[in-house]
């Protein structure tokens, strides 16, 4: 469903509006509408406002992602405004995800100090990774930036599912699916190109899901989170050193490397628990009976 929504919006906008104008907003709207619809499907309900759980806040952060994406894709906005928008969006995402950590810390001053010290650092990392993705979006050719984001999202979906949260994994999968729909819409219609807007919106959603998983899923370690975040810089390096023969293939391979590593580590850790843990799979009572 998320992919279908993204595809329909991109294709439809290309037929109704001029390609240049549609390219400014349609891919961003398509991505956010598809992803938001996917989140609601996963939850099975529209979460009440204000949500209580951080995972439910991600549905409402889709609106923030939409705003950030529209700012990034607008042509006449000064760079200063763009940077202010990125900072605000990242700070809001970090604040929404981490607010429960501050509540749980209660009146413990040591924990509060640590959280306040870490929060700006997390915001800086979020902005830096957004910048890497944005550079790739502006310097990258064709569908490369969107493809790299799709790889990062799909990898995050697999990692989160392996380390213990199927719900958050499905969230990341919804955004990946919506991005796939946007890419398919551009490939089929060849009119509405996914520029920096959907890349920014998709990156905001990836950050929100990743940070929620990092804060509240025990198995998502700093190494796994870092490997997902390093995906766009790795692609950018691959693009910088590319040879005319390799084209964007080298950039794609470079972006895949940290994701493959993250999936392998998550797989290893998911099987690192009790060897006889029956929760790993369906027990074949019939086989045992026959034996």
């Amino acid at each position: 469903m998320p992919g279908l929504v993204g595809l329909v919006i991109v294709l439809g906008s290309g037929r109704v509006f001029r390609a240049g104008i549609a390219s400014e907003w349609a891919p961003t709207v398509g991505l956010c509408a598809g992803a938001g619809g996917g989140f609601v499907l996963v939850l099975g309900k529209w979460p009440t406002f204000p949500p209580i759980q951080s995972s439910e806040w991600i549905v409402y952060l889709t609106a923030l992602a939409l705003g950030g994406g529209v700012v990034e894709s607008a042509r006449l906005i000064p760079d200063g405004v763009r940077w202010a928008s990125r900072t605000l969006v990242c700070a809001l995402v970090v604040g929404v995800v981490s607010r429960r950590l501050f509540v749980n810390a209660g009146i413990d001053p040591a924990t509060i100090k640590i959280l306040w010290a870490m929060a700006p650092g997390v915001v800086v990392i979020a902005i830096a990774s957004w910048r890497a993705q944005e550079r790739l979006a502006r310097e990258g050719t064709g569908a490369l930036p969107a493809l790299v984001l799709l790889i990062a999202l799909a990898g995050l979906a697999v990692v989160l599912t392996l380390v213990g949260s199927l719900k958050l994994g499905q969230f990341a999968g919804s955004v990946a699916s919506a991005m796939g729909g946007v890419l398919a819409g551009w490939w089929i219609g060849r009119r509405v190109k996914p520029g920096p807007g959907p890349i920014a919106a998709g990156w905001v959603l990836l950050l929100a899901i990743l940070l929620t998983g990092y804060a509240y899923v025990q198995g998502l370690s700093p190494i796994l989170a870092g490997l997902v975040l390093v995906c766009p810089p790795a692609a950018w390096i691959g693009q910088v050193v590319r040879h005319r023969r390799t084209g964007m293939a080298l950039a794609v391979v470079c972006s895949l490397l940290p994701i493959v590593a993250a999936v392998l580590i998550a797989w290893e850790r998911s099987h690192d628990l009790d060897a006889d843990d029956p929760y790993a799979g369906v027990q074949r009572i019939a086989d045992d009976t026959r034996a």
Binding site: G164, L273, D274, Y279, A280
Partner: protein
């Protein structure tokens, strides 16, 4: 001789009945060493919280929480002044499968890192039949608080020597709907009704 024996037996029986009637408890019987009002700290080692939930619509699945704490106040003269507070830590969930425990602690179910505890805090206590109390209170799960009424069965109390001290305990069973508290993911896998079996032992402070 037989008539004297019969008379003695009859008299003794009447005496026993009279003693029984006169000491019939309205609420928890005061054991030797009990005060009018005693506050007990819950002994987590000898307290249990077990949950039951329907799995795939075909069976009942049981799990437990290993970290139970809190306190209760038993006021014998004014039972309505009694209080109960129970705190259970989500991270102590134990279903005999590490991977399942990890999944239960994730945001998919208990969300243990975001909401570390389940709590029940009484707001009113009313003596019931025999050794029971009707307790109204607030039950908090996944950050959502809802009113809950339970019936506590007071098991007993007394001085259990130097090793255990003065102890008292109760148990209760009640059922909640997990969807009322925002835990409604995949209802086709797990039932909405969750029954909790709570057995509490406390040591008087």
């Amino acid at each position: 001789m037989m008539s004297r024996l019969a008379s003695a037996i009859l008299g003794l029986s009447v005496l026993l009945v009279l003693v029984g009637v006169s000491t019939r408890p309205d609420a928890a019987p005061a054991a030797e060493g009990a005060n009018n009002a005693d506050t007990f700290t819950i002994d987590g080692v000898h307290s249990n919280v077990i949950f039951k939930i329907e799995h795939l619509g075909v069976s009942s699945f049981f799990g437990r929480f290993n970290d139970v704490s809190g306190s209760f106040l038993l006021d014998r003269e004014n039972p309505d002044q009694s209080r109960v507070e129970i705190v259970v830590k989500y991270k102590s969930v134990d279903t005999n499968a590490s991977r399942r425990d990890r999944h239960l602690k994730s945001p998919d179910f208990f969300n243990a890192d975001e909401f570390p505890t389940i709590t029940f805090t009484s707001t009113s206590v009313t003596p019931g039949e025999g050794d029971t109390f009707k307790v109204d209170g607030k039950f908090t799960l996944l950050g959502t608080t809802r009113p809950l009424s339970v019936t506590l069965n007071w098991i007993g109390e007394g001085d259990r020597g130097a090793q255990f001290g003065y102890r008292g305990g109760f148990d209760t069973t009640f059922t909640i709907k997990r969807s009322d508290f925002g835990m409604d993911w995949h209802p086709e896998l797990l039932g909405d009704d969750v029954t909790l079996f709570v057995g509490i032992e406390g040591q008087r402070r």
